[in-house]
């Protein structure tokens, strides 16, 4: 039965991937990539990787779809049709693809208990972490403590991506903001204005945005006990802000959270993460060794995980909102 579910999901995945390559209307393509992410999240759920599924659903199906749509507001919504085949590209794809398939022949079978991944450090984590870290959700203890450096690196990657988007897209401030004044905001010109008159949507949003934030806080602070954590919570927070921007317009959203504050928060989250590492150094441990933060080891671990998850959440939320603001404020020029 579970085999049947797996095969059905994978078949849908392949179909959606084919449809993505065949569709010329980019709106449809974006919708299909959203479906692809949701299918992927379902597959992760059937594999019991709930945290990954959560991230995939929130980031892949949620935020990236919105960012793709924002990009299309800046560019175009139709792909140019290709009438001739690029044989070199087809050959390169075929050769790479078959090399990858050949590579999978060496991989251990699905669910093989003898696979290297189950022999290396995983048994150690499963045996030791409940006592050593004291956090019920093992994914969080691996992500935040055993692999704390990697997570710091991931947060830095998100930070760098945000900086790159800002460098590429932000308007020249020294030019006296003339472009911002001259060109109305992208979302106000393109249907955003009509959306601001949609009463049902406005009332609904006013009622629901606080609930979205509440859920974000739950995901943020419940990450120690169940699926969730900084990445997912940050994306949920950002989606609340994005919904507000879509319904009430960019100007009002900028009044609620000024872009300058957002940019400070982008840096603050990463600094909070790295600062926790520095604090453990000062208090006599190694970098990101949270035991040093309190007298009792598990207490320290709890504190450390709380701080770094908060740092991740703040950075992710601020980065996603900043990127969306930058896209929406750019307009079609």
């Amino acid at each position: 039965m579970s085999n049947f579910v797996d095969i059905a999901l994978l078949a849908f995945l392949a179909l959606v991937a084919l449809a993505v390559t065949r569709t010329l209307n980019l709106f449809a393509t974006v919708a299909l990539t959203g479906i692809y992410s949701l299918l992927m999240a379902s597959i992760f759920t059937t594999l019991d990787a709930v945290d990954v599924a959560f991230t995939e659903a929130a980031v892949g199906a949620g935020i990236s779809t919105v960012l793709f749509l924002a990009t299309m507001a800046l560019t175009t919504s139709h792909e140019k049709p290709h009438h001739h085949h690029n044989w070199a590209a087809i050959m390169a794809t075929l050769i790479t693809g078959s090399a990858l398939v050949y590579g999978t022949l060496d991989m251990p079978h699905f669910g093989d208990p003898q696979a290297p991944i189950h022999q290396h450090v995983a048994p150690h984590y499963i045996e030791i972490s409940p006592n050593e870290i004291g956090v019920p959700n093992m994914v969080t203890s691996v992500l935040a403590t055993y692999r704390g450096y990697d997570t710091l690196g991931e947060t830095a990657v998100i930070f760098t991506a945000c900086m790159a988007v800002l460098l590429l897209l932000q308007r020249d401030r020294r030019g006296g903001n003339r472009n911002v004044m001259a060109v109305p905001d992208a979302d106000q010109r393109r249907g955003g204005q009509s959306m601001q008159h949609a009463m049902i949507l406005r009332v609904f949003s006013k009622f629901f945005i606080p609930l979205i934030f509440l859920f974000g806080l739950y995901v943020q602070f419940h990450g120690d006990y169940g699926p969730g954590g900084g990445f997912q919570a940050g994306v949920i927070f950002a989606s609340g802000f994005i919904l507000y921007t879509l319904v009430f317009g960019l100007e009002k959203a900028r009044q609620v959270i000024p872009p300058r504050t957002l940019q400070a928060l982008v840096a603050f989250g990463l600094l909070l993460y790295a600062g926790t590492g520095i604090a453990t150094l000062v208090m006599g441990g190694q970098f990101l060794e949270y035991k040093a933060l309190a007298h009792e080891a598990t207490h320290g671990e709890h504190l450390g995980i709380l701080f770094i998850e908060l740092g991740v959440g703040i950075t992710v939320a601020a980065v996603m909102t900043t990127i969306f603001f930058t896209f929406a404020g750019r307009g079609r020029s």
Binding site: S194, M195, A198, I200, F204, F208
Partner: protein
């Protein structure tokens, strides 16, 4: 009693699956945007609600059950608003319902 709940939940799950399938068929077969919207609305509200109620009966009075109730409430708010917003956006961007044009012509 347990057996009754069990079969009721399966009945609801099957009905929900049926309405989801009907909604999917409607999106494929109905003639224009607004009637397709109507079909999508069936999947969103009736199909999802029946599936969720069936699952709630299976879960019983537990944390999972309460979470499912909250998802149900969430869907009952979001789906109609989403359907309404999409339809309104289509109407304001100048998309006319197909049947109305036919009536005008004839």
């Amino acid at each position: 009693m347990d057996i009754l709940i069990y079969y009721t939940s399966w009945l609801l799950l099957l009905c929900g699956a049926f309405f989801c399938a009907v909604g999917g068929l409607g999106i494929l077969r109905l003639p224009d945007f607004y009637s397709r919207q109507h079909a999508a609305g069936i999947t969103d509200t009736l199909g999802a609600a029946l599936l969720l109620i069936g699952l709630i009966l299976q879960a019983g009075l537990s944390l999972v059950g309460i979470k499912l109730v909250m998802i149900l409430l969430f869907l009952l708010f979001t789906s109609p608003v989403a359907t309404h917003t999409i339809a309104q956006a289509a109407l304001q961007s100048g998309l006319k319902p197909k049947l109305a044009e036919k009536e005008r012509d004839g």
